[in-house]
């Protein structure tokens, strides 16, 4: 006889598939979001217009304030579906302004929903300078005692300068679908050849840049389901006990030691499978198939 099958766990809306505005509205307390510089009354990038390209009135990023569990937060959400969430002059300035506002207004935290390939090439210089300003502004915000959390799980991941910015944040929360790296696989393939990095090998790309790999290596703090509600609950849980500490020599010394040691330990490896084996994972080839909870349990058993 057939036993009744347990129903699959109920899932909320996918973070990966949602737009920036949907993510913001579902992540924050209901009806609490107020957008700064909303599309009404805004103008789109003059630089894109000069190149004959259609712009967006929000320039691909949504910023504003709201509450999370009743506490005030500021929020940034990049729109990966507009020019790859890439950073141009206006896009970058909105983020810098939001971070400066955080230093002034002292919210509980800044939530940075990263979904970006990095510099917007159509505004390359403006984008690079803006990324540098965002880096400094994130560090200023943290130095003012306000944590900045990077939430990564969108279509474009966090690449280029946005990969650096993400690692400057207080913590990274990432879904399995999220990707975090510096150069995109396509760039490496173009410059170094398909043997170096086959950007169409989706499984390989995830084994090198994806959420599970970054979590196993300690490059993101939390691995969450591809579900806006899980991003919300994990953020709430982390913030409940978070103490943002000032930058200190001894913490950077410890990070220097961690990074140096791991470069020695994993030198020359080229696939997540090899790194996971070296970490002591019993069946590395099973990692891509594991559910989130099982992977978290597995990592807790590793001596990292």
């Amino acid at each position: 006889m057939n036993l009744p099958q347990p129903s699959p766990p109920s899932r909320g809306p996918s973070f990966y598939e949602a737009t920036a505005r949907q993510r913001v509205n579902r992540l924050l307390d209901a009806q609490s979001f107020t957008e700064f510089l909303p599309p009404q009354g805004a103008h789109s990038s003059p630089h894109l217009a000069l190149l004959g390209l259609p712009g967006a009135l929000d320039d691909g990023v949504v910023i504003g304030s709201g509450t999370l569990g009743g506490k005030p937060v500021l929020i940034i959400a990049q729109e990966g579906q507009f020019l790859g969430g890439a950073v141009g002059e206006m896009h970058g300035a909105k983020i810098v302004g939001l971070l400066q506002r955080a230093v002034r207004d002292k919210p509980l935290a800044v939530l940075f929903l990263v979904d970006s390939g990095g510099v917007r090439l159509h505004e390359a210089n403006a984008g690079l300078i803006a990324l540098s300003e965002i880096m400094r502004a994130v560090l200023d915000t943290r130095a003012a005692g306000i944590p900045v959390f990077a939430l990564i799980g969108g279509v474009c991941g966090a690449f280029g300068g946005m990969g650096i910015v993400s690692r400057l944040c207080s913590a990274i929360l990432m879904s399995e679908q999220g990707r975090l790296a510096l150069s995109g696989p396509e760039v490496i393939e173009t410059v170094a050849g398909v043997e170096e990095f086959d950007s169409r090998d989706r499984a390989l790309v995830w084994r090198v840049t994806g959420g599970k790999h970054r979590y196993l290596m300690g490059d993101c703090l939390a691995l969450v389901e591809d579900d806006v509600e899980d991003f919300r609950q994990t953020t709430l849980a982390l913030l409940a006990h978070w103490e943002e500490t000032a930058p200190e020599l001894h913490t950077l010394r410890a990070e220097q030691e961690r990074l140096s040691q791991r470069c020695t330990q994993f030198c020359g490896l080229r696939d997540g499978l090899e790194v996971w084996a070296a970490l002591g994972v019993p069946n590395p080839q099973q990692i891509p198939l594991l559910e989130r909870d099982a992977l978290v349990t597995l990592r807790q058993g590793l001596s990292l």
Partner: protein
């Protein structure tokens, strides 16, 4: 100009610098005391190894020479492009380097960068652009991507980009564009110890001025939107 003749010109009172696998480290004397030298040569591709060596030097400086100014010598083609580098989260090591320079600033070390060769993308972001002020030799090449590659990726004809670059500093390579947009303080036609001493003296008089690139970019007419948007967000 190659590194050592340049250092002789900038620091006639003396300098002690060594280059090991593309990383420059050392100390130089100025009228106002010793400065730390740190940087890369031969358009280094910034890897984990290079980023961590640079970061280690900055931490050593903060620990053992409190307050000593930092002169960053920038010559990078960008980040190292390889799968093995990305596997170990290259953006993480570059972020660590940026945090170390930021720590030095917060501990009272003024810093200036001098672009001696190339300054490109991630390698520039995590190092040269983290200094209080950036200067460039006239011959410096500053870019994200050259216009031909940009044309390929954006699918905008190369001739069109070249024509537009004449009037807009926003996307085309060139140190002058970065000056107009506020990220480079000045281009040095003929480098000299006087220029360097002046730059250091200026930094010492305004040590906590913060990030003024938005305002500079607006004053010089190269970035018309950004400062107004930041102001609008602060009053929204």
């Amino acid at each position: 100009m190659t590194l050592f003749p340049l250092l002789d010109t900038l620091f006639p009172a003396g300098h002690e610098a060594t280059v090991t696998q593309q990383v420059v480290t050392g100390t130089a004397l100025t009228a106002s005391g010793p400065v730390a030298l740190l940087g890369t040569v031969d358009a280094a591709a910034i890897s984990h190894a290079i980023a961590l060596r640079l970061a280690g030097q900055v931490l050593h400086l903060v620990e053992h020479h409190p307050g000593r100014p930092l002169v960053l010598l920038v010559d990078t083609q960008g980040q190292a492009l390889s799968r093995a580098q990305e596997l170990l989260c290259l953006n993480g090591s570059l972020a660590h380097l940026a945090r170390c320079i930021d720590l030095a600033r917060r501990r009272g070390h003024v810093s200036l960068s001098l672009i001696t060769g190339e300054a490109v993308s991630g390698g520039f972001l995590s190092f040269g652009l983290m200094a209080d002020r950036v200067y460039a030799l006239q011959s410096a090449q500053v870019r994200v991507m050259d216009l031909k590659a940009m044309a390929r990726v954006t699918k905008i004809p190369h001739e069109r980009l070249v024509a537009l670059a004449a009037s807009s500093p926003t996307f085309a390579p060139g140190a002058e564009n970065y000056h107009r947009m506020g990220a480079i303080e000045a281009l040095w036609d003929t480098p000299s110890s006087e220029l360097l001493e002046q730059a250091l003296a200026q930094l010492r008089t305004e040590p906590s001025a913060g990030d003024s690139r938005l305002q500079q970019g607006r004053m010089r007419g190269g970035r018309q939107e950004a400062a107004a948007i930041v102001a609008a967000v602060l009053t929204a």
